[in-house]
């Protein structure tokens, strides 16, 4: 069921002739109730797929925005169990929007890989991105995902040459995540012209849709990427909205969802009246 949720969504978007907009939100940020409200509001605000980060104390590939989001969530007692519960609650109201969990290996090792994949599948998780489990270490996790019909989504990067790409796309499904900059999340900006040939390379190597993320902050940039990629992921810019709303004592949910709307709209209209780049 779950794998097909991702496939069905990309197939539908392909028919519409547009890229997917994929917001990344941190589970439990700034607190469980607010994060749940944000999650629930995402599809109506224009999310085609959703990435849900689960917090880890030592996120080595994240820049300051997502590091701080994880710290906010952990400080408010967020757990992996509560993350799955939040996704289950989301699924009760939305049977179609794919949800991909993203995070680091150690909390899954603690849970047990096989048990985690089973529980995540039961909660309605469609895909997993585990940043510090590269293909070389992914055997047991890939087995666990396969057994529960969860896509193990791989990262391709500017450092992936053709030989490496072959390794990266082995045993993967759903889509491939192209990390558009060498660096951590939320620091450098992605350049659509530079990214385009890589997206094409990854598409060819994998036969799967390619999502681009890591350096996309504005609607303009999101639109530019949407012209060359199958999906546009925005994370740091959204968790920064959480931080700003908390700081200014504003309505966190409203502030985040309005940013999502702006980004999603930019992605939706990106290819109108424009020849493909």
């Amino acid at each position: 069921m779950s794998k097909s949720r991702i496939e069905a969504r990309f197939a539908a978007l392909k028919a519409e002739g547009r890229a997917a907009f994929v917001p990344y939100v941190m589970a439990g940020d700034p607190d469980a109730a607010t994060a749940a409200a944000i999650l629930k509001g995402l599809p109506a605000a224009g999310a085609d797929l959703i990435e849900v980060g689960f917090p880890f104390s030592d996120p080595m590939a994240e820049g300051p925005p997502i590091q701080r989001a994880a710290q906010r969530a952990l400080a408010n007692g967020m757990t992996l169990k509560a993350t799955l519960e939040a996704i289950r609650a989301f699924r009760d109201g939305d049977a179609d929007t794919p949800v991909v969990l993203m995070g680091y290996t150690n909390p899954l090792v603690t849970w047990g890989l096989a048990a985690f994949a089973r529980d995540a599948g039961a909660a309605g998780v469609d895909g997993l991105i585990i940043v510090d489990t590269p293909p070389e270490e992914a055997g047991p996790l890939a087995d666990a995902c396969d057994a529960n019909d969860i896509s193990l989504i791989r990262l391709a990067t500017p450092t992936s040459d053709d030989a490496r790409l072959k390794v990266v796309v082995s045993r993967t499904s759903g889509f491939v995540y192209y990390v558009s900059v060498a660096g951590v999340t939320g620091v450098k900006e992605a350049d659509a012209v530079a990214v385009a040939p890589h997206v094409e390379r990854v598409r060819k190597a994998s036969g799967l849709p390619v999502a681009v993320g890591f350096g996309i902050k504005t609607p303009e940039r999101a639109a530019a990427i949407a012209r060359v990629a199958d999906a546009v992921v925005v994370g740091s810019a959204l968790v920064d909205e959480v931080a700003a709303a908390v700081e200014l004592n504003e309505d966190v949910t409203a502030r985040v969802l309005s940013k999502v709307e702006a980004l999603a709209k930019a992605v939706r209209v990106a290819r109108h009246g424009l020849a493909p780049v």
Binding site: S57, D58, M60, T105, W111, T133, P134, L155
Partner: protein, 406 residues
């Protein structure tokens, strides 16, 4: 889980995937995978190259000051009244600790790989100083990441690094200590993939660092083995070292692993006591998990979130341990004891008074277990302890704990 198999030949590990049994591996973001594969290949080639080894040996002799003496500590031996105690005097190396052995090896490798910028993490500042030193010697720019808490408690070493031309970047994320410095160094590496060499300071992190750092530090054990055979005509009954990430310990231990009669004893930092929860003893108080690119014993909570380590010693203040130690523990080849802050302080003062040697507070953790070890080994026995560093850097810390102002 079944008990892991005891190997016939310890030198055959790690396997090609960087595994010591279940431990080790390469759990790094995809951006870094090509880089760690390159490093693995470059190190394998350098290791097999007699020219590289000869160049390294030359610098170790003439710049670092090797071999370091193996010193019979007569008064310490007499004080404990048990086995003879020999100290492997790594504190006499240039820059005052064993860290330079590894830095010299890695900087030569970095240059061989054509890298033009060096980054490192440091806790006590000893590895940072050693890295800054070799970077000065070979004219390479150097950035050292150091937790802001450690910057505060190791000020003299920060200044030393500055004098050597290195930029010290204080890290405020997380607990602002060694593990966070390592996170930040990894973030730098992910960002500067083309020109930067990450010079890791312990036998920890992702493959090939644990095996490479072990190989560069194994000169300690090779020398000690020869020296004790020369002095006593036989192998020791036990070899002892403090364990943070585990580089000085594995450097001493490795050449003795296949000698069945030699007990291998590591000493972890127990901070305020193992039962207090405020310690840095990954094996004695943690469980296996994945951090900084490898599977090993870690301090972590029920959820798999990494916990802060606590130790008087900045150099042992790390929530993990190198994967080879995790494996040696599981297969039963090595024993891991622990020593508290207070015990280390007592040992610091004891060695200063009895032998005229100020030990690094890290090394003092190993010294602190000598009463039991020398008693157990007994009067006719021999114990070799790695004096991994000198204690000059720690006088402020020691004074503070004694309630003295200097």
């Amino acid at each position: 889980m079944n008990a892991p198999a005891v190997p016939n030949d310890y030198s055959a590990y790690p396997d090609a995937r960087g595994r010591f049994g279940d431990y080790g591996g390469q759990y790094v973001p995809e951006t870094l995978m090509p880089l760690v594969h390159d490093l693995d290949a470059a190190y394998a080639a350098a290791k097999a190259d007699a020219g590289f080894q000869a160049e390294l040996a030359g610098y170790l002799t003439h710049y670092v000051g090797r071999p370091s003496p193996l010193y019979f500590a007569a008064r310490l031996t007499e004080h404990f009244g048990g086995a003879k105690v020999y100290l492997k005097r790594e504190e006499l190396n240039h820059t005052g600790s064993h860290k330079i052995n590894n830095c010299m090896g890695q900087i030569l490798l970095a240059m061989r790989m054509g890298k033009t910028r060096i980054i490192a993490e440091t806790g006590a500042g000893q590895h940072g100083v050693a890295t800054a030193t070799v970077c000065a010697r070979f004219g390479l720019p150097c950035v050292v990441y150091m937790g802001s808490v450690d910057v505060e408690r190791q000020k003299p070493n920060v200044f030393r690094m500055n004098l050597l031309g290195a930029e010290v970047r204080p890290v405020t994320s997380g607990s602002a200590t060694l593990k966070d410095a390592m996170n930040e160094a990894l973030r730098d590496w992910v960002t500067n993939v083309h020109d930067t060499y990450y010079l890791i300071g312990s036998a920890a992190g992702m493959h090939p660092y644990p095996v490479m750092v072990r190989d560069f530090q194994a000169i300690i054990g090779r020398e000690a083995r020869e020296q004790i055979l020369e002095a006593e005509g036989r192998l020791p009954d036990a070899v002892v070292a403090c364990v943070g990430g585990g580089s000085n310990a594995i450097g001493l231990f490795h050449p003795f692993l296949n000698d069945d009669g030699v007990k291998i004893i590591g000493v972890e930092a127990a901070g305020s006591g193992l039962e207090s929860g405020r310690h840095a003893a990954a094996i004695n108080g943690g469980r296996p998990g994945v951090l900084h690119g490898n599977m090993t014993y870690l301090l972590q909570n029920q959820e798999g979130q990494i916990e802060e380590a606590h130790s008087i010693s900045a150099g042992l203040d790390y929530p993990g341990i190198g994967p080879e130690h995790a494996w040696l523990h599981d297969v039963g080849r090595a024993t891991y004891l622990s020593a508290t802050d207070a015990e280390a302080l007592d040992a610091f003062m004891l060695l200063s008074k009895l032998e005229g040697i100020l030990p690094a507070i890290e090394s003092a953790h190993a010294l602190a277990r000598l009463p039991e070890i020398t008693r157990e080994v007994g009067k006719d026995g021999i114990v070799v302890l790695n004096l991994s560093g000198r204690g000059d850097k720690d006088v402020n810390t020691v004074a503070a704990h004694l309630g003295r102002v200097i």
